[in-house]
Amino acid sequence: MNSFTYFRTDAVDTAVRERASEPTAKFIAGGTNLLDLMKENVEHPTHLIDITRLPLTTISDNVDGGLRLGALVTNADTAYNEQVIQRYPLLSQAILAGASPQLRNMATDGGNLLQRTRCYYFYDTATPCNKREPGSGCSALNGYNRIHAILGASNHCIATHPSDMCVALAALEAEVRVTGSNGERTIPFADFHRLPGDTPNIDNTLEPGELITAIDLPARGFPEYFQYLKLRDRASYAFALVSVAAALEMEGGTITAARIALGGVAHKPWRKPEAEAALVGKPANKENFQAAAELLLAGAQGYEHNAFKIELAKRVIVRALGQAAKLEPTA
């Protein structure tokens, strides 16, 4: 790990001011990703601002009927929170599909959004990587790219976002509350992460120095018809090859609202409004789910080792929607 100085505060404004005073500083909370990347010499902040004492550790009701997750609530406390289980079971399911109990006890909700890719070349400082070192090239394009993106990638970067939680948050249309030197603002979840384009070094739309303070869940939580389905190389404790967060509202056998977000396939959780709209007013059946899957995967591009993900994703979408609609068993 590189040398750095350490600063701790229990006030949000002090943390933001401290961060603004040193451009190469970083906030640290759970540390599960940042410290790992520092050990790998991928991240080397000169100054760490410990935000674990900030008063952002509660889950509370919002006036609009939604739920506010403080940025420092741990992933475990979120997944096992009664309100989350009752009203947003999709989110609980997605969190528990990721990482290990130890990591979920450490990792915070705000930090989960800021996880960096698990692309092997991003971690391997001996190889070119545009995300780690802009302009150096992408080793994954012609390398071992089994875990890489099939949607929304560019010829500068085919990395994926590794979070499970974020896939559910995308489907639920959460909002991210942030604060910085220019005050507070709210970012819709779909606009929080970005596609790589020609600046894959930038993962999200936070301004430099901005701090996530909370994640707001809207009142609509799809507690009845939902499924987070994750496919990976082993049964537990592995990143997704493909995952699907499916949420439906139904009347009788007819779909009245649908949300579908994909993980493991792009630089951000992948949604396609046309695919969701195509399901509304239709009966919940395999044929309609297949049509939605085709729309979601439109334009997908496979590389040498990950082309299988295109067909896999379609099948996972059909199954997840079937499970969400309670047409298929979940086990």
Binding site: M1, N2, S3, F4, T5, Y6, R8, I28, G30, G31, T32, L35, D36, M38, K39, E40, L48, D50, T52, A76, Y80, A99, S100, P101, Q102, L103, N105, M106, S236, Y237
Partner: protein
Amino acid sequence: MNPAVETYPPDVRPPSLPPVHSVKLTVNGKDTELQISPWTTLLDALREYMDLTGTKKGCDHGQCGACTVLINGKRINSCLTLAIMQEGAQITTIEGIAPTEGNASQLHPLQKAFIEHDAFQCGYCTPGQICSAVGLMNEGKAKTTADIKELMSGNICRCGAYTNIVDAIEDVMNQKNA
């Protein structure tokens, strides 16, 4: 204690290095003050500065679980947190899980069960497995054998003693519920 750091007063350290911090940790109910750099992980503080070598360094990247300790009763990977960030927390390591009252050679029920079920071969992952199992029981979410397997997935055993590890944990859970 690490003599190299102990005998290196701040005023003679190379100017490019940030100062050493005085860090107060509460480990197994005992308060300790360490002079350490901010980048010292909790794992390194325990092993290299406090001689609590029961906690093991496996991968040092949060993937193997050998470094599992309890912070305020919750299991975490001590390799992925800085010692300085854990000031004020109750830290419990494998050395601190056995009951302290009465017979000093008493074992925690999980330690006994690991011996009875032969739940290890080389033993390197065992302290982490046991601390993780203590955390699992504190959490109270595991109800079935499948739950135990899923909720112990953060602890790797390269000898492959998994079936006996699960048996040992299940045995203690059943004793507790009996």
